[in-house]
């Protein structure tokens, strides 16, 4: 119990530092990344290259494990089907992302430095998640 919390705390810290370093917590940079018809800044493509390049090997290793390295249950997603919720949800998410240039990770990592606007975004996001949960019932 203690080990998995410590590992999650450290992973959250490393994740956040990665987001800040990469430019993902800079909404203007995200918008310029999505602005392929304007003054396109492709920097954030390198975030994906770095992140996927490293974790690819971890996931390959993980697929052969029955328990994690600290004896936790492995919980990999099992869904395979390309269904309507996946597509609709991703469209809604993409529109929201493009409207301000923030997605959940960077928003949480900016919650203490981003002032009222980021706080407002996070509250709206949490309400959105709660609405999903109500609708799902």
């Amino acid at each position: 119990m203690f080990k998995k919390n410590l590992s999650a705390l450290f992973a959250g810290l490393v994740f956040g530092i990665g987001l800040i370093l990469s430019g993902m917590t800079n909404p203007a940079k995200v918008i310029n990344f999505l602005d392929i018809f304007g003054d396109w800044d492709p920097s954030l493509m390198f975030v994906m290259i770095g992140a996927i390049g490293v974790s690819f090997f971890a996931f390959r290793k993980a697929s052969g494990l029955s328990l994690s390295l600290i004896k936790e249950q492995m919980q990999l997603p099992t869904a395979k089907e390309i269904d309507l919720p996946l597509i609709t949800g991703s469209v809604l998410f993409g529109v929201g992302w493009g409207l301000v240039g923030l997605c959940p990770g960077p928003a949480m990592a900016s919650i203490v430095t981003g002032g009222f606007e980021v706080l407002l975004f996070v509250v709206a996001m949490l309400i959105g998640m709660a609405i999903y949960r109500l609708l799902k019932r």
Binding site: K3, K4, A8, A11, G12, L13, V14, F15, I17, G18, I20, L21, S22, I31, N32, L34, D35, G38, D39, S43, M45, F46, I49, G50, V54, S55, A58, K61, Q75, L76, P77, K80, I82, L86, I87, G89, S90, V91, F93, G94, G96, G98, L99, V100, L102, C103, G105, S110, I111, V112, T113, G114, G115, E117, F121, V122, G128, M129, A130, Y132
Partner: protein, 138 residues
């Protein structure tokens, strides 16, 4: 394109990749932010604390960053109503679509999940279309 930062973005990405690697190899979990956050409400009691710990790390990360480099601040310059609509869409959409940029865009693609590759293509396209509409039309 004076803001092109391939090196720092790549290094940042490597950090994110290391974090995702830790989460899967140690915790047996996908480092998907919307899933870790949205799943808190319905998680089993023994499954709550690591989620809170992860977010504690994420929220505190700017302070660690500031020990080594100059402070940063995300600045949103769009109207409040637009921020609220965007937040609602990001919240509903990421849960309904089972993931966001981290869960699908990083972890899912690294696992070579077909669902995540499709989801990433869809939300990137939707994001690009939205920026086109808000910045180049009207």
């Amino acid at each position: 394109m004076e803001d092109f930062t391939p090196i720092t973005s790549l290094i940042g990405g490597i950090f994110i990749g290391l974090s995702a690697s830790m989460m899967i190899l140690f915790n047996g979990r996908i480092a998907g932010i919307s899933g870790i956050l949205g799943g808190i409400a319905d998680a089993h009691k023994s499954d709550v604390s690591w989620r809170v710990a992860f977010f504690a790390g994420l929220v505190l990360s700017p302070f660690v960053y500031m020990l080594f480099s100059e402070p940063f601040a995300a600045k949103l310059t769009v109207p409040d109503l637009q921020i609220v609509i965007a937040g609602l869409l990001v919240g509903i959409g990421s849960r309904y679509g089972s993931g966001c940029t981290s869960g699908h865009g990083v972890c899912g693609i690294a696992r070579m999940s077909k669902r995540s590759i499709v989801a990433t293509a869809v939300f990137m396209t939707a994001g690009i279309a939205t920026v086109y509409v808000t910045h180049h039309m009207g």
